[in-house]
């Protein structure tokens, strides 16, 4: 089958503003959009720039907009989006070149929620693992899936409209630690997510949940943080 691929282009070294280029190419229904971008780069225009690595939806490099919705380019197929395909960079982060955006503000937000395990109590005397029941482990399973692709955060209208909102991805990370029975810094993290740049900016639009390529119930996770903030209980 033939597909038309309309791609957002911007090269700051040449272009004053962005433009779109359209390419027509042969594809099959099971081609990933990433496969098509690779073909365009290989045969049509070597300057086309985008990030990619694992090519099967686990590294989080190639989040972008396809037909207006956030996807990983390697996890959306032609059969999912049809033969007229528009590819654009993520919204809400500065475009650096073509489909590459500046990820630094995104990772800066991630770093604000103390994104690491904190437990300063002595380790078990037997030299073994800290114990955790399967139920305690299951409590935060969902939010351990996050690959930091930014599809959620850059789909969020609250993030688009304010620079200082932590955004869904950082809140997912906060959730992962706050609900981990072994972690001891929940109070500190709750303080961070309870500030005005935190969960209060979530207006349950659900864009993040729709956008997540790992199918994390993000709005629900943020809801659980809100509940913990209101009740003062982490359950």
């Amino acid at each position: 089958m033939q597909v038309t691929l309309k791609i957002f282009r911007y090269n700051p070294e040449v272009d004053k503003t962005f433009r779109y280029e359209t390419y027509t190419l042969e594809a099959v229904e099971t081609d990933r959009i990433l496969d098509l971008l690779e073909k365009v780069k290989g045969y049509n225009d070597g300057t086309l720039s985008f990030r990619r690595s694992c090519a099967h939806g686990v590294c989080g490099s190639d989040a972008m907009r396809v037909n207006g919705r956030n996807y990983l380019a390697c996890k959306v197929l032609v059969r999912d989006v049809g033969d007229k395909i528009t590819v654009e960079p993520l919204l809400g982060l500065k475009v650096v070149k073509d489909l590459i955006v500046d990820m630094e503000p995104f990772f800066d937000n991630y770093k604000k929620v103390l994104p690491y395990f904190i437990n300063d109590s002595p380790l078990p005397a037997d030299g073994k693992e800290r114990l955790q029941s399967p139920e305690q482990r299951a409590r935060f399973d969902e939010t351990t899936k996050c690959i930091l692709c930014a599809a959620c955060t850059t789909s969020c209208p609250s993030f688009w409209s304010s620079d200082d909102y932590l955004g869904p991805a950082a809140l997912v990370t906060a959730h992962r630690f706050i609900f981990d029975s072994r972690d001891e810094a929940a109070a500190e993290r709750m303080h961070i997510v309870s500030e005005t740049s935190g969960v209060a900016r979530c207006h349950t639009v659900f864009n993040c949940t729709m956008a997540c390529p790992r199918e994390i119930q993000i709005t629900k996770a943020i809801g659980e943080l809100k509940m913990a903030m209101i009740t003062g209980k982490i359950e």
């Binding site: 694992c54 686990v58 395990f117 693992e129 399967p134 482990r137 351990t144």
Partner: protein, 596 residues
Amino acid sequence: MNIHQFDVVVVGAGGAGLMAGLYASRGAKTAVISKLYPTRSHTGAAQGGVAAALGNLEGDNPDWHTYDTVKGSDYLGDQDAIEFMCHEAPQAVIELENYGLPFDRTPDGRISQRPFGGHTNNETGKPVRRACHAADRTGHMILQTLYQQCLKNKVNFFDEYQVLDFIIVNGKAAGVVAVELATGELHTFHAKAIIFATGGHGRIFEVTSNAYAYTGDGAAILLRHGLPLQDMEFFQFHPTGIYKLGILITEGVRGEGGILINGKGERFMPKYAPTIKDLASRDVVSRAIYTEIREGRGVNGQNYVYLDVRPESVIKYAALDGRTNPDGTPYIVTGEQILKKLPDIIDFCRVYLGVDPLTQMMPIQPTAHYTMGGIPTNKYGEVVIDDKNTVLPGLYAAGECACVSVHGGNRLGCNSLLDIIVFGKHAGLKAAEYAKTADFEKLPDDAEAGSRSAFEALRNGSGKENAFDIGTEMKKVMFDDVGIYRNEKGMAEALEKVRALKERFKGVRVTDTGKIFNTELLNAWELGNMLEVAEVITVSALNRKESRGGHSREDCPNRDDKNWLKHTLVRKQNGEIKIDYKPVTITKYQPKERVY
């Protein structure tokens, strides 16, 4: 010139690089530079688990793990290093848990374990639960946890910096040169110790589970400096990749009771591995699949077979095999339990194949998966450069780019995640210790000259050749002729072809003349690395006239311990490839026939 000075510089931010960075930073001023954001590294794609004889669910011990690894390596692994790794394993996994890694749990709250290929109870020969897992995203959890701990410990990161060259002065490591992708600027990292943790090179093959980033950069850079690479002919083809795409379907599927089925609907592994059947070593299972396909028992005459993890099949074959739960009750599973244990696998099949593994069988074929060979090191991660294991002062390597050698001719599943945490840690410790007493070597006047000229060559080629075509042709010939089954004629033709491609590569001209994220230039440079690596793999494979582990020659079908129980060292001198050998360290386990 942009010059940075650190005691220790780690190149690569996958599991090995992050572990090295974490440990080195405790004793020395350390930087980690990576061509990707660290969380994009390929460790994150590892699924099934990390091996350690914790014995949480049944009797196990590090000696069994050692023997299984020696046997899995087809006796090419160095037994002192293997013993070291397997005995460090329990503590290393506990350490990850202490860093917060969310392992799945047993009912009594300990780290959960599942069976995995080649890991056995040495008394019964039956599969043992040794793979410590976090669903089917164990690598993702390791990568995240280690990155998080590095942030906590304020390790210095240089994200999206591609290393281009290694600086060696007076026979010692002195630094590396890298390009900052966002600006195109070259940077020199002046260091006392350098740790390469640059990963493997599976992207030289057409069907692979490996990330685009897996282009053999570290290996190729050292090769250009006349340094040796070890056992490059040994590459692992994982039995279960998604048909055509090569995306990995973890061995954990078989660990949970999945079985392989040919086109006639028969379970075929008992023919090839009567005792552990579908959980034999990867090389054995990959060859079995290929044999089925070649003898006409692929599905619909195509190059694939099925992997079946439908609950009714799992229950049926578990009963036939006498598999029970740890408490002795029959092994029964539901679709819901399988979904919980293998969520990503089920997601991959649904997305890429439109197949639901809970009700349908998965079409699979072997996929190029893991680089057993690489930069030779001792068990402390120190790079060694000859048959006497002479250390190159200040240079370290760990993880998939390195060859300790703990995997020998064939790696066991779950031993790669173990390798990265054990040897990443020791490389980091050793490098920091070295940096305490070593001095900085004086940098050469123009340390960046080599990198600049490599880029200039790519910008000034005739433009007659297309890099994408060259890459495609390389991948095809390597997969077809230097793949699972090999022979003299096919490999000789492959070598000729790869050399012709290297010539044609000189005619590539990068069209992007910009500096900012010039990914065309970087991809072309990576292709150059892959061609270098493909050439030495083919030469090493042609040279080894036996079959061992992942190196299976139709024209020399048997293992030949008399002539070939030795490591290959391959290097380039004045453009010529030279092969030397190094003895295998054998301590407790004398080579014997390998039967599963």
